[in-house]
Amino acid sequence: MSIWEYANPKKFIATTTPLVPWLLWGAIAILTVGLIWGFFFTPDDVRQGSTVKIFYLHVPSAMMAINVWIMMLIASLVWLVRRHHVSALAAKAAAPIGIVMTLIALFTGAVWGQPMWGTWWAWDPRLTSFLILFLFYLGYTALWAAIEDPDTAADLTSVLCIVGSVFAVLSRYAVNFWNQGLHQPASLSLDKEENVADVFWYPALVCIAGFVLLFVALVLMRTASEIRLRRMRALEARMRS
């Protein structure tokens, strides 16, 4: 029993199709609980007032924006090394989710920044890095859309994803060097001392779990769609010849 068995598209679809509804509804339930908890049943912060409630959307979406890219990088590497189509299609399926996560993180950040820092947008290292990440996502999806042959597209986007990852990390450090910034340091490090208070921490954990589950459900569903689309194109091509 190896994980590579699921690289068989048929096996992948057969295994994930019954799982997806459970995952999706589970994600929706957990997110609903977490967000309602965060929105209705947490106190306001002494300094930040009710804007602290944005935390429950901002932090999970920002984490996912980065993690989705890392997942795409791993899937691209697997595709280049082992040539499993499911892997390449999973990377393709994940990119739009990453775009939405980045948008949510940017928007909630801007809305939070307005009352706290007095500006919608500051060229702060973290904000700027996310904007650059957003551009990387755009370029990646545009490249997928531009190439007709699916294998060529998978190869080129994988190479782009790897090169892009190196430059994304480089940009992160460059941007840090360039401007010191207003953003507070990461509030969810593993070092418990620096963390936010437990009242805010538990609902945030629930929201993070919800976002992760939602991503897993969506990526499985979208990958299955891509596999079906691929099979459909192959059948159509064979019928025409």
Binding site: I132, L135, F136, L138, G139, A142, L143, A146, I147, T152, D155, L156, V159, L160, I162, V163, G164, V166, F167, L170, S171, Y173, A174, V175, F177, W178
Partner: protein, 218 residues
């Protein structure tokens, strides 16, 4: 490799387009800046380092799609791929040729355009140095972008979308060096970072560009 470099350079000079066009574009962008932001000397001096770098970057971007497109169309690229020269070497030489035809003239022209923007005197050396060190990275990154998009019909616009985010670190460190120079500070650290990015690009990106070329020639 040297023969390939010579061939590319001769072609670029004979065709004439590459050289002049990038430089003229650089000049025009810099001339447009004062119209956009107003003629006050202090304002221009403040934004000069960044504007010079951004304009140089855009001028370098302009000629990128010619790196492989001509060879791809007339069929010499598959020939190069089957020659004893490794494709990584081809990519490297293409990057070098692009730098010699655009990056180098841009670097030489930049101090002259600095006068137009009232760049502070202490910054000229840093401007020359940071462009000399940074534009090779721009050319190499651009070669990678051109290799990825070479088979596409309308690759030019897509390539800008792919390449410009990759230019961010080089731009940040390059213009930071000039800004520090303009302020009269020591700019060694950003200069070293620019040099590091350039060396890293030349060490690694030929492999990525060659991989993309192999896919596109399949």
């Amino acid at each position: 490799m040297i023969a390939l470099l010579k061939r590319d350079l001769t072609l670029a000079v004979r065709a004439g387009g590459g050289f002049g066009l990038g430089l003229a574009f650089f000049l025009i962008v810099i001339v447009l800046v004062p119209f956009g932001v107003g003629p006050e000397a202090e304002v221009l001096a403040r934004i000069a380092p960044g504007m010079l770098w951004v304009a140089a970057l855009l001028a370098a971007l302009l000629s990128l799609d010619r790196i492989f497109a001509l060879d791809f169309e007339d069929g010499s690229l598959p020939l190069l791929a089957t020659s004893p020269l490794p494709l990584e070497g081809v990519a490297l030489m293409k990057g070098v040729a692009h730098w010699v035809t655009t990056g180098l003239p841009l670097t030489i022209a930049a101090p002259l355009l600095g006068f137009l923007l009232n760049l502070s005197p202490s910054a000229y050396l840093w401007l020359l140095g940071s462009l000399a060190l940074g534009t090779p990275a721009l050319s190499m990154i651009g070669t990678f972008g051109a290799a990825v998009t070479v088979g596409l019909k309308r690759g030019g616009l897509l390539m800008s979308l792919l390449v410009l985010p990759l230019y961010v670190p080089t731009l940040i460190f390059g213009s930071e060096a000039v800004r520090r120079g303009a302020g009269g500070f020591d700019a060694t650290i950003p200069m070293l970072m620019v040099a590091g990015i350039t060396l890293g690009c030349f060490a690694l990106l030929p492999f990525a560009a060659a991989a993309a070329l192999r896919v596109n020639l399949r």
